[in-house]
Amino acid sequence: MEIRPIISALMRSKVALVLIGLQIALTLAIVCNALFIINQRIETMNRPSGMNESDTFTIGSNGFGDGFSTKNTFVEDLALIRSLPGVRDATPTNTLPMTNGGWSEGVFMAPGQKVSTTITAIYFMDEHGIDTFGLNLIAGRNFKPEEITVRDRGSVDWPPGVIITKALADKLYPGQDAVGKSVYLDYDKPAQTILGIVDRLIVPWPEGFSFNGDHSVVENSVLVPQMTAYGNSTRYLIRTEPGRRDELMKTVEAKLAESNHGRIVRGVKSVEKVRSECYANDRAMMIILGTVIFCLLTITALGIVGMASFWVTQRTKQIGTRRALGATRASILRYFLAENFLITTGGLLLGAFLTYAFSLWLMAHAQEAKLLPWHYVPVGFVCLWALGQIAVLGPATRAARVPPAVATRSV
């Protein structure tokens, strides 16, 4: 296959060449960066929370007036919920993963330590918490019923024993068994003993939680054996037998409302719903970028078809001449495919630079963006080469069908 005649033919329409090349370059830059963003979102959305999400839901209540006792309400509600058929377990809690609302604390290793070692989310729960959340206790033990205390408004003390996640244990005591060791949720107060370690439980803010720029703290959680009885609000997590969640969401809501008229029962939500709301913006971004990629590839492909068709029409006479001089149909077809390949390659080489320029722009505008990994570029090359060849196939086939007799006609 002779490349030189193709190049010299192309050099006669430089402007069209530059336009198509530029279009392909920009397409590569946009598609690579958009795909990278989509993949990052998929990674974020697929992060396991560490808890059972399919059979769990949350419900809360807000009492009003002076007659409302939050402590009693906790005790009565939990007894009621746990007695319902189909409920596997229930726990009081302050928040859940992915709700974007909760309590965070600095973690210290020694009394008087002024700067925290890392930070953590705080989950208040009772001895039913681990089973209700569906956490995997990998070391140590669960809370005992007598360890559960009530946290009053303005309380500034922490209980003597806590359970922490493996991620936090590894950060505080790397390579050691953290069970039985100490951690300080407050450097001025007595230490907390680590009673147990759970495999994983992410913080309520999976996308916004960082410690001095370190995002690995997303799995730092401390389980505290307390019920938060201040203000007038209570919140529970309920785990049902598999498949009975939706039915029990209604039952529990009705029963709680019935049991005490001095309050508002609110916020009934399955954990699956919590997850989908948490990542709604990521999903939106993925849909928008996906649409952009689709439109872009369509436009570029149609643009190539348009330009190639035009070139075929313009060169009908030359094609006829070549055919008359003995060129086969296959060699005409090959000519147009090779021409497209050359143009695309030129555009892609320019596009590789544009892709990284774009990636740098993204990094400057979105603090958390990372530089595009290199393998996106070759993948993009292959895709756009394929796109170009497919797009040009139609016009090239038409060119191959030009009869040699055309050469003899005057127009």
């Binding site: 069209a16 807000n62 007038n232 939106a284 436009i299 348009g306 127009v411």
Partner: protein, 435 residues
């Protein structure tokens, strides 16, 4: 002449309907994508209270941890403590001032048919209404006397008044909230600032308040704020301990009617913090800020990163669409070179040919722009479906419609200019020879 060229243009476009459709669709998609994202950015970033944004200032005092700054960029905390809010309210050095925080209270309606519900509101001072100027349908705000005596008064929003009193003038009626009766002094008309600029900490796109009550009354009843609360050190136990702590959980706004007053107020803040330093508070270096509304919106990065990325991507997409159209138009005009050569030979001047072809490309550009505007509406509907929080900001305003028209005309001219110029360069003789 114009109508003749216009007809020629239409005829030429009709000759290749697929190609024409492709060019129009390309411009339309590019315009729609860039205008949709630009609208989001424009509305989120635009001044929410243009007539007085320069006079409203947000107070920031750095009462944070001596061992670590509040954030990595060196900003002072984004809220103030109860102690400082009280000191600044008492000093009353600004033209108007209002401390405020978010509060959730159960409302127990008199009407037994309406079930009690939890309602989100704002505890603030009477000056809030004069500062942020929400429109009133009935009554008005409360005065300084009510602030001083912990008045049990409430201002309802339109929606809450609908729910509780069927939208009637409810001034003087009672609303029972968490077991206490408040008397309605005012009802707002529809008020939905696109960006909830007076409390960015608890969500720039958060739902608007359902009621406003005096700050002093809520503090008296020891109701904890329901917004963000951050503490860097230990608090003493109990409610009094919490109020005396360095925990930050309130917003503090001042109205300063001239730049000189703003400078004086900044000096006053510095003096205040220096005084407090003598008492052992404010261990960090002096770092007070007094940003106006727009500076505050910028500092808090109200426009989400995703929207900025979308704007960048969509303009690159528009560039691809334009290049695509330029290429196709160029091909089309080159194909017509025989016809152009003939017209030149018959006496048409270059400017005439230029006019003819720029009209043809403008037809494409303008139809692309018009179609693009329609698609932009569709795009914004899609955005509202995808992002629930954006319901309030994903709307075209007149500025954006005008921008769309300008952008698409510009796009059309840009796309048509070079191919047209090229078409006019054709030498008549060369084209006629081959015929």
């Amino acid at each position: 002449m114009f109508s003749y060229y216009f007809q020629l243009g239409l005829r030429s476009l009709k000759r290749n309907p697929v190609l024409t459709a492709l060019m129009v669709l390309g411009i339309a998609l590019g315009i729609a994508a860039s205008m949709t994202s630009l609208t989001l950015m424009h509305i989120m970033g635009s001044d929410p209270i243009p007539w007085k944004s320069e006079r409203l200032h947000y107070v920031q005092l750095d009462n944070w941890d001596p061992n670590q700054p509040y954030d990595q960029e060196g900003n002072p905390p984004d809220q103030v403590s109860y102690k400082d809010a009280q000191a600044l309210m008492e000093a009353a050095k600004a033209d108007r001032q209002a401390a405020m925080f978010k509060v959730a209270l159960p409302i127990q309606p008199e009407n037994p048919e309406v079930k009690p519900f939890l309602s989100l509101g704002r505890a603030t001072y009477g000056d809030f209404f004069a500062m942020f100027e929400p429109p009133f349908a009935y009554g008005g705000g409360w005065d300084h006397a009510q602030d001083a005596q912990h008045g049990r008064v409430v201002v309802l929003t339109k929606e809450t008044n609908e729910k509780l009193f069927g939208g009637q003038d409810s001034v003087g009626r009672r609303v029972r909230m968490d077991g206490i009766d408040y008397s309605v002094v005012g009802v707002l008309a529809e008020w939905r600032p696109r960006i909830k600029f007076y409390d960015l900490t608890n969500g720039a796109l958060a739902e608007p308040e359902e009621f406003f009550v005096p700050y002093t009354t809520i503090i008296e009843q020891k109701k904890q704020a329901s917004g963000n609360n951050s503490c860097w050190n230990n608090t003493a136990p109990g409610w009094e301990g919490y109020l005396a702590s360095e925990c930050i959980w309130q917003q503090f706004w001042v109205q300063l009617d001239s730049p000189a007053k703003a400078a004086d107020y900044k000096a006053f803040l510095d003096d205040y913090v220096n005084e407090q330093k003598k008492l052992g508070r404010f261990p960090r270096p002096l770092n007070n800020r007094l940003l106006d509304v727009n500076q505050w919106l910028q500092n808090q990065k109200v426009v989400p990163k995703d929207v900025q990325v979308q704007v960048g991507l969509s303009f690159a997409f528009l560039a691809v669409c334009l290049i695509n159209t330029i290429g196709l138009l160029l091909a089309k005009f080159t194909r017509k070179s025989g016809e152009i050569g003939l017209r030149r030979a018959l006496g048409a001047s270059k400017p005439q040919l230029f006019a003819q072809h720029i009209i043809e490309s403008s037809v494409i550009g303008i139809s692309g722009g018009a179609f693009g505007l329609l698609l932009t509406f569709g795009g914004l509907v899609l955005v509202r479906v995808l992002y629930k929080d954006y319901a309030n900001v994903a709307h075209l305003d007149w500025t954006m419609v005008a921008t769309t028209v300008v952008l698409s005309t510009l796009a059309a001219v840009l796309a048509g200019l070079y191919p047209t110029w090229r078409a006019c360069q054709i030498a008549p003789a060369a084209q006629l020879k081959t015929q």
